[in-house]
Amino acid sequence: MVNLAVLGAQLAFLVPVAVIILVTVVLAWVVGLLVGRLTQRTSPHMAGAARRLAVIVVALIGGTLALQALGVSPDILLLVVALLGATALIALRDPLGNYGAKYFSDIYTPFKVGDTIQVGAYSGKVIEINPMATVLLSDKEQLISLPNAALLRDVVTNTSPQAWKEVTVPVTLPGSVDLPAFESELLKSLSKLRMRLDPRFPPVVTTKARSPQSTELAVTLMLRRPEDRDAITSETNKRLGEVLEQVRGARR
């Protein structure tokens, strides 16, 4: 027969571990929420990444403390993780650079497929933007593949007519979100900005890609004044986040 008193004494050391895990979970949730609030004027893409990063950092700290409470030295573990990370970064430096550049160019670079751009000595119509490179079709019908990292390093000139007018904000919707309701509420929300937008071009929501897990959309707005670009992008991102929460809330 098991002696409960002995078993309790043997398991007592787990109590601090459980407390640490519990506190970590709560803290991760609170930090995620705070970071979400702080980043609501950036794109939902960016805000989501920031939230995930903050949660991972809290989880790592909590995990390290929990290991210490168990009497395991976390030094070796941290060293292995750090070495693996450094090796991966060195080995995948170029692709990761391009991928990262694509990630940021999605959000901040003012061109899209169909535009004509000039980057250094190269110019042409953008026909593809993939995780590694942006592909241009030149006037001589040559394909030019520009590593995405180059687009962050070099000056990019969008030579499409009235390119300054257009702001395209990407948004990824989880598959669980009701797209028709989201679009409808978003159009209502964005119509409040119409004094700042070209009255001939109401906002347009375009489906870029879809899978059972998510739908990638692009919200296109046309500015009335070029100097409003940054403010409109920021405001649109804020409204995207609000509408997303609203539609999710209505579903719950």
Binding site: L179, A181, S184, L187, S191, P202, T206
Partner: protein, 460 residues
């Protein structure tokens, strides 16, 4: 070419359900899939009268029969229907949206309709695409596109055939590389489009590989919006075998039922109760000739559209318009000479075509005007507005009589030409040539033209 699988999308459903039955939307009843063969036409359901569905259904049936299509799925707005209804080789999928959203959607579609038909001023709905109502129009179109997308994942369609301006945004919302065809059924004159609408309409039109219109002038005008796909003209059509030629006994029975005496002559107007259909012009013209032709009666056939019906969107413009027309008749003291029949079944309508002396198509604007073709296949002469797409097929005095609805007295003049026709020579010529013209708007012609278009777009 291998047989195709296509998805058709219209606003108006092919079949409207009447009342409640085990398969439809009785409160608390299961919304199970339904086979239409299990129900009774007239009691449980009816086919939507006239318009787009009247045209598309025979074509789909024929293309399936001829092996051009392997299967067809038809998505439409049908708030009072089960989600899926089987009808032989055709599967009907019904979209339903909440009443408050329906109201917003209705506002936008009526505004577009009114502007295209020049019933509204250019400035009246300048901000339409920024309005809250537009978000509901987008909602309905997106809901439709989502359903089509789900069906495509299941059935892997070869092409999408979207019909009419109410569905215009669907093509843009369908995230697919497969061919998309859009048929614009109403008139199109770029001059009627407000400046603030052009970019939006252009964005939507550019998402289609082919845009089909009903008249050459519409095609020319629509190209001004710079669609990226082809713009082609295909005449609307009817299946002549859907029309009967009732015998004298049947015609007499229908005539008696609606209050016609044997000596009465009929001028027939067939069209839903809508200001755009110009029934007021017909009443005014009739009032001008009534005293000279004491046996002539004007018969107005038609009710509201799907938009106006209780089983549809519930917009009440048709009832208002009919009241206005009835007031006109009372004012002209013609209550015993002008008859309103409401909606008639096809056989009853065929009886009136057989019974009439001539038909009138007095529309202020008309996408095409298949009523004239119906008149021709019943060997009856037609007097047709110049503002109809079909006018480009008509030579005045050869296959029909044309009139300008804005010209005072023009309709009266043409009615008198037929009423005073010595020896019936004009009538005989119009009937003979009309019958020939009707072949251009027949199902046979459409089968060829639409089949070629589908082949071209799917093989391109």
């Amino acid at each position: 070419m291998p047989a195709l699988s296509i998805c058709i999308n219209t606003q108006t459903p092919l079949v409207q359900f009447l009342g409640t039955n085990p398969g439809t939307s009785a409160p608390g009843s299961p919304r199970a899939d339904l086979d239409l063969a299990a129900l009774t036409e007239g009691r449980d359901y009816r086919y939507s009268p006239g318009g787009v569905t009247r045209m598309v259904y025979p074509l789909v049936r024929r293309l399936i029969h001829e092996g051009v299509l392997r299967e067809a799925h038809w998505v439409a707005l049908n708030p009072h229907a089960p989600p899926t209804v089987r009808l032989n080789d055709l599967t009907l999928h019904n979209v339903s949206i909440a009443g408050d959203r329906m109201a917003g959607y209705g506002t936008v579609k009526e505004a577009i309709w009114g502007r295209i038909h020049e019933l509204n001023g250019v400035e009246e709905h300048d901000e339409l695409f920024w309005s809250e109502a537009f978000s509901e129009y987008a909602y309905y179109n997106r809901r439709t596109a989502e359903l089509i997308q789900q069906l495509d994942e299941k059935f892997d369609f070869d092409a999408f055939y979207i019909h009419d301006f109410q569905q215009l945004a669907v093509g843009h919302m369908l995230g697919t590389l497969k061919p998309k065809i859009f048929r614009w059924h109403i008139p199109f004159d770029a001059a009627t489009i407000p400046d603030k609408w052009r970019a939006m309409l252009s964005t939507y039109l550019r998402s289609y590989d082919v845009v089909v219109v009903s008249a050459q002038s519409y095609a020319k005008s629509l190209r001004q919006l710079e669609p990226t796909g082809k713009v082609i003209r295909l005449y609307p059509y009817i299946d002549p075998t859907d029309y009967s030629h009732p015998n004298a006994v049947q015609v007499e029975a229908v005539s008696r039922r609606i209050g016609l005496a044997p000596e009465d002559q009929i001028a027939l107007v067939v069209g839903r109760m809508d200001p755009i259909k110009g029934q007021d012009l017909a009443i005014s013209a009739f009032a001008a000739v009534a005293a000279d032709y004491p046996h002539l009666k004007l018969v107005l056939v038609g009710n509201g559209s799907f938009s106006g019906s209780a089983s549809g969107l519930g917009l009440s413009k048709s009832a208002r318009w009919r009241t206005h027309l009835e007031e006109m008749v009372v004012e002209a003291r013609l209550q015993d000479r002008v008859l309103f029949t409401g909606h008639l079944g096809q056989e009853e309508l065929d009886s009136l075509y057989e019974r009439c002396r001539f038909t009138l198509l007095p529309s202020v604007r008309e996408g095409f005007g298949l009523v004239a073709v119906e008149s021709w296949i019943h060997d009856r002469p037609a007097i047709v507005t110049e503002r109809a797409g079909i006018a480009e097929l008509i030579r005045d005095g050869v296959n029909a009589l044309l009139f300008d609805p804005d010209e005072s007295g023009a309709l009266v003049r043409q009615m008198k030409r037929l009423l005073d026709d010595p020896g019936g020579k004009l009538r005989a010529r119009l009937v003979r040539n009309g019958r020939t013209t009707a072949r251009k708007c027949s199902l046979d012609a459409a089968e060829r033209a639409e089949g070629e278009m589908l082949a071209a777009v799917t093989e391109a």
